[in-house]
Symmetry: C3
Amino acid sequence: MINKNQIDDILSSYDKSKIEITTICSHSALQIFHGARREGFKTIGICTQDRKQMYDSFPLAKPDEYLILGKFSDILEKKYQNFLIESNAIVVPHGSFVEYVGPENLEEKFLVPMFGNRKTLKWEGERKKQREWLQKAGLKLPKQYRTVNEAEGKVFVKFSGAKGGRGFFTTDSEEDLKKKLKKKISQGIISKADSLTLTIQEFIPGVRYYIHYFYSPFKNRVEILGMDKRIEPIDDSYRGLPDIPDEFLDYTVTGNQPVIVRESLLPEVLKMGTNTVKTSMDLFPPGMIGPFCLETIYHPERGFTVFEISARIVAGTNLYPEGSPYSSYIFEEPMSTGRRIAREINLGIENGKLEKVIF
Amino acid sequence: MINKNQIDDILSSYDKSKIEITTICSHSALQIFHGARREGFKTIGICTQDRKQMYDSFPLAKPDEYLILGKFSDILEKKYQNFLIESNAIVVPHGSFVEYVGPENLEEKFLVPMFGNRKTLKWEGERKKQREWLQKAGLKLPKQYRTVNEAEGKVFVKFSGAKGGRGFFTTDSEEDLKKKLKKKISQGIISKADSLTLTIQEFIPGVRYYIHYFYSPFKNRVEILGMDKRIEPIDDSYRGLPDIPDEFLDYTVTGNQPVIVRESLLPEVLKMGTNTVKTSMDLFPPGMIGPFCLETIYHPERGFTVFEISARIVAGTNLYPEGSPYSSYIFEEPMSTGRRIAREINLGIENGKLEKVIF
Amino acid sequence: MINKNQIDDILSSYDKSKIEITTICSHSALQIFHGARREGFKTIGICTQDRKQMYDSFPLAKPDEYLILGKFSDILEKKYQNFLIESNAIVVPHGSFVEYVGPENLEEKFLVPMFGNRKTLKWEGERKKQREWLQKAGLKLPKQYRTVNEAEGKVFVKFSGAKGGRGFFTTDSEEDLKKKLKKKISQGIISKADSLTLTIQEFIPGVRYYIHYFYSPFKNRVEILGMDKRIEPIDDSYRGLPDIPDEFLDYTVTGNQPVIVRESLLPEVLKMGTNTVKTSMDLFPPGMIGPFCLETIYHPERGFTVFEISARIVAGTNLYPEGSPYSSYIFEEPMSTGRRIAREINLGIENGKLEKVIF
């Protein structure tokens, strides 16, 4: 694994007055570039030809410069890494960045300085490690079962390999599980490899809140920057009642809508975020840095159940390029998560401790 | 009951150049403090120790000063009331304020000047009085039944005691009603006392719109400041189909999402608000003052049915610390309901008639 | 049909320094007036007496002047048309404008210059022409059937005459279709005339995204200005489970909520908009001008299906008087669709080519 010293060496060669922000043109790149621009940074978009036109159509969010690749994973090639390093570029990793480049590659082969703590990738990406992290943070997680029979009633079936909820389903018997698994593989919705990563979880009733946090080492505080609810085909499934077409039973994330939570729940929300950060400092020092998201289901009788953590910027923050109902209470200026990242980088430059938030 | 003269006497002792805004740290306090600050007021947060950290995490919305109590109802103690009065404090009451301190206590024992008309509490809090108010205002209300049999088909069962929709349910027979009631009491979801406040209402099909109004005595107008939809566990219940777990059938409010209504319905929306205010002037002069919310279900064939009024700031306004799609059409500045309250207090100070909006 | 020369003649008589913006007081008029005002235009509201009070209650969005009519279609009278023309007025047509005045009347009798291309009305209004347009643009449309039997499973039944989804329903047999049709006619929900415009469409599973575009001839670009989801009674239907009252099965649009879509879908979103505009230039030159909306259902396995186009400002844009999560990436200022229209008119005035965007 690339170690921190290697990245620090590269970062020390950077002209701190000419730092540029870069990421892959997908996921939350518009917001990241837009926020970086507002904080005074130049930006580089790692892009493919077919996507460039869309980014160009948003003049205030398009990157100042494009690095056009055949495919995103080409960014691992030495010459492209060198180009970014010579541009004094800091990568802001997002979900698609990790997905396209591969978490192992980011850990082993990608030497461009990244915002945040690279060690987080492993703790987010490996299901067991993630569970250990959240459990040690004292969060309530869904129960996990080895078989459907172990559970009472309905369970939720997930895959590590599947992206964005694709192929997930509910079931209440082993027989039905096998049938659905077979069907989804034959339809190409999940792969055989995916099916081996199967997890059987408790089905949690309640309302989903995806909570956007930001941990700032320079301000030494956890900020609640916003919330959203993800929109999946199953969220329009009632329109197909009484005989819901199978295609509605799909958990792939397609977009987001804005929500807020009862103010009396915010102390708990803040505590969950703070504990997540504190625990990460023990597990993989210096721990979680920058944006992360706890993906929760809230029920009045059960409280918050956290079914996943995204240990980087989430796409739900795209709702708030001008700030959210929560960021208004922290910042005078419109503060997106993308801008917040750039702001933290600026703080690091100003106080000469940029390496604290870069790995 | 405390009378207006008593409050006027206390208010007349206030240094009008040093008015502070105060409320209990819950419900919509962040918004209230944030809005007060923007209008130039100092703020006092009536808080418990366990909540303070959360308020501190929002630097632009935390109160300038805290009054930390063992429990919120301690605010009734003479020494704390005196502290607030000596601070020239005006209380902005919200749903949790009324709930924690108790409506009778606010009427009988709490001498700190409050924004709005204290008489409103009784007309909002007593179900019969509330119904009388809304009916006289010409609003369409859900039918009420003495028994399930009296209704045709499904009915909605509510309790006065239950907070925020907790324990509410639908039923279509007396037998089922009794069974559900018994179960909810045994689960501790409602108390026996709650069960005695049971109301059987018509089940209304349609879309819920929670409409945020503000009546300004100084501007002599009813303003539409925003709208929201409340999010309850039942709102994610379709994700549990076909056999929805019982826990989904829960009407407790957990948060809010922003909505707007067809423009062609706004004349009716405005008329409902205006009539509500006019009627209140007859029933309990000088009537409703400041923010209130009509909780409606709209159906194309039925129009708006109003199933409840909240005669003070509602938590749905927390969606709009920077203003809503409606407040933009009234104010040049970002205008939350919290700020709007502070603005009205400022108007009262400026024209020397603060007592008009305080009781 | 009125031809472009007639309108150009009238427009050439206009004092370009005193252009006023006008529309019928409904649909998105608040936003249109508010946006026009921000771009420096005076506004005229074509209104009925019963609606005036509501518009007056929004001081920053009410028109500078009212033209009060007995009924909206009176605007066709010569004297009123002359009044508008003498006021140097440009009409911004919206859905209710077209509905109240009648598309044929706008084509044959209404000589006041309108923003956009008047020829669009026919291509939007006639179902066959609309389908031709969208198909030629390469968009994926729902399949259409002559009978329910032709389809497999559930179909969606729509009417041209019905406004805003009123009377639409789903069915899975000819028998059920006939029964429902009969019932809806007897209930007065649709007319016999409506029933003759019946279309039987494929029932599409997935999530609805209503995408707000703007084509600017002066900037020569298609802008994505926002997105919404429409709220219909069926969207609260799950609250009536298990025996959903019939009244919930209603597709009339009652309001809107804000949404965003995955960033990785935006290249496709932009392409759909661009192709729609390009195709319109061939079909009815100079083609689509200004705001339009593609009404889509997205499903991970199917991509976007476009079930309708609105070739003018849609009411969902009312969510964004201060701009949307997308307009922030294009404009420094808060940019609503209403303001965007006024801005395009300003561009036309500035470069002396106003007639390019007026017909």
